[in-house]
């Protein structure tokens, strides 16, 4: 049972499962580091998944579908930015409403554009067809198949994790974004607009969330199904928290969930006892709760996350 092939397949499946969660989690990290609580990743992902499938179907080109998903994800997230930053509304409320709006608007547009609810037709080519094995590196045992023989968005996720780590810690803009979430007053005092930094943070999470959604519909699968995010946006939140609001931490936490999910499926395949399948199905979620509960004490959120920042003008 514990043969080499099984282990490798399990690890490769882990990457597949983790990618949309990792992307959404990294996006959420940027948003929350700038001070805006974002529970709307689920909604942003479903918008991205929908747009990717529709545009890829209409143009026949999945890359254009991906670009459209990224764009519309960002566009959709601007609603959250506007509500929380400019109108000073409660972050959680705004996020919750956006999730509901996303489900409804994708269902509505589905009828309008596709003509029937449920599932779109398969896209002509999915991004999954663009599997690229990096010459040389893909031959490394185990790691080669996991990291160097993958499909486009999976590669992007690796790159983005590294990029955002560098961005947050090594660039001036990244510093300003972090400051907006830690000590916005100090930031505003030196003349950098906290509003702008927070808009930026939310927008980035929208772009990345759109890409995460696109993975679900046109890379991991070949069509859009209503509700296909299945709670992954919320798992991404858990990954962000267990990962200490750090891109690499969030990525590792997403891998952990992806691993648990890939494991429980294979455990079901091999299970010869009468254990109810529900126990297997909830395994990844239970592990996530345990991880969050265990790690949350060491995990420190940005000091000013969730707090409103308002500039009062005397001449208003």
């Amino acid at each position: 049972m514990f043969d080499y092939d099984l282990i490798v397949n399990l690890l490769v499946a882990m990457i597949r499962n983790a990618t949309p969660i990792a992307l959404a989690a990294v996006g959420a990290v940027i948003c929350e580091r700038s001070g805006i609580v974002n529970i709307a990743m689920e909604g942003i992902m479903i918008v991205g998944a929908f747009v990717a499938a529709i545009v890829a179907g209409a143009t026949g080109n999945p890359w254009i579908g991906l670009l459209a998903a990224i764009f519309f994800g960002g566009f959709f997230s601007l609603l959250h930015a506007f509500a929380t930053v400019s109108l000073h509304l409660d972050h959680v409320v705004s996020g919750a409403v956006l999730n509901v709006l996303a489900l409804g608007i994708t269902a509505y547009l589905m009828i309008l554009i596709v003509g029937h609810p449920g599932t779109t037709d398969s896209v002509p080519i999915s991004l999954g067809a663009y599997r690229w094995a990096i010459p040389g590196l893909s031959r490394i045992p185990i790691l080669g198949r996991m990291f160097f023989d993958q499909t486009p968005i999976v590669y992007f996720s690796f790159v983005l994790v590294a990029f955002f780590t560098w961005f947050l810690n090594r660039t001036k803009l990244g510093l300003h974004v972090r400051a907006a979430g830690e000590h916005p007053l100090a930031l505003e005092t030196i003349g950098v607009s906290v509003y702008k930094m927070r808009y930026f943070g939310v927008f980035v999470s929208g772009l990345v969330g759109g890409m995460a959604g696109a993975y679900l519909s046109i890379e991991g699968n070949v069509s859009f199904t209503e509700g296909m995010t299945g709670g992954r946006g919320f798992i991404a939140m858990a990954a962000m928290i267990s990962g200490g609001w750090h891109p690499i931490g969030a990525f590792l936490a997403a891998l952990f969930f992806g691993f648990a999910d890939a494991l429980q499926v294979r455990l079901q395949v091999f299970d010869t006892t009468n254990i109810p399948e529900e126990l297997f199905i909830i395994l990844p979620y239970v592990l996530t709760v345990v991880a969050v509960a265990g790690l949350v004490r060491r995990s420190r959120p940005p000091k000013a996350v969730g707090t409103d920042f308002m500039i009062e003008r005397t001449d208003d």
């Binding site: 092939d5 099984l6 397949n9 499946a13 597949r16 499962n17 949309p20 506007f82 509500a83 109108l87 509304l89 705004s94 409403v97 509901v100 709006l101 489900l103 409804g104 608007i105 269902a107 509505y108 589905m110 009828i111 029937h116 609810p117 449920g118 599932t119 398969s122 999954g128 679900l216 991991g220 699968n221 070949v222 069509s223 199904t225 209503e226 509700g227 296909m228 299945g230 999910d261 890939a262 499926v265 294979r266 079901q268 395949v269 091999f270 299970d271 010869t272 009468n274 109810p276 399948e277 529900e278 297997f280 199905i281």
Partner: protein, 353 residues
Amino acid sequence: MKKILSVSVVLLLAAAVVFAGGQGEKPAAKGKAETRIAAMATDVGGLGDKSFNDGAYAGLVMGKDLGFEARVIESNQQTDYIPNLTGLAEDGSDVVFAVGFLMEEAVKESAKMNPDTYFGGIDIGGDPDIPNFQGILYREEQSGFLAGIVAGLMTSKYADASPKLNPDPVVGVVLGMLVPPVERYEVGFIQGVKYVDPKVRVLSVTVGDFADQARGREAAVAMIEQGADIIFPAAGLTGLGSIQAARENGVLAIGVDVDQNNVAPDTVLTSAIKKIPESVYVVLESIVNGNFEGGTKVYGLAEDAAGLAPFHGFEGMVPQAVKDAVEKAKAGILSGDIKIATSRSEIKDLIDK
């Protein structure tokens, strides 16, 4: 100025919540004697599942020549069931169908609250105390059995018939959730496989969701990695992911509920069907004829409501011996010689997983 803006955004967000709460229906016109209204509320899978909910809706549409106008509301979550069903009844529908085992409590509640409206429940058992409700059950185990016969023979004895089959005698079932209709499909399938070849292993994975294609795909992949060359997804929309996974990994699949060959014509060998549209039509007919019966009606092979879909592109590939085995099994089921169990507990010794 800011205040006006805040208020308008709040109103917009509030409108979004209302507007996002599922599809609206056309304004209700009280059902007159000439145009009756046949309505349904879907389960959370919604229309477009290419099987279950679509089948029920197709039945309503078929009712047009009986003078019925079809109406449908999609449920977004389980708490929508009762509001949707009673809403449809109060809006003047002559008959309201609930689709799916998960809606059992809701439809019985709604039927009791609206004794003047007929109610039908797909995959739901009837209740002698509720005369205006007819429960419609199916013998999925019969369709599953026939599918198992095809799978059991093709995966092992006739694996040479197609490059998509491998010599490993392994097949796989993907379940959406372990609700009775799905369980009947699975249990029937296992018995069909073992009936023709006890050596064949049947793997089984439950996903826990009827609308998660990604998980359906993973479940199928995990079984394909273990040598399964025929995947039978009894999982609604989740199963579409399983079929795609079968397609991409060069193996075959068997569809469920309706003829799913068009989902992937080079992959879907046949489908285990239950004729939901026709059974819905029978209920509509009974309303028109004035002989609607409460209680439970069970549809199976004997009522021509169960069976296998055509092989389509695989017609030439499937050996005559397999087709003969299917016909023989059908005769056996109809005559009563072949008895098929309907729950996992009854076939404990057959399950190897």
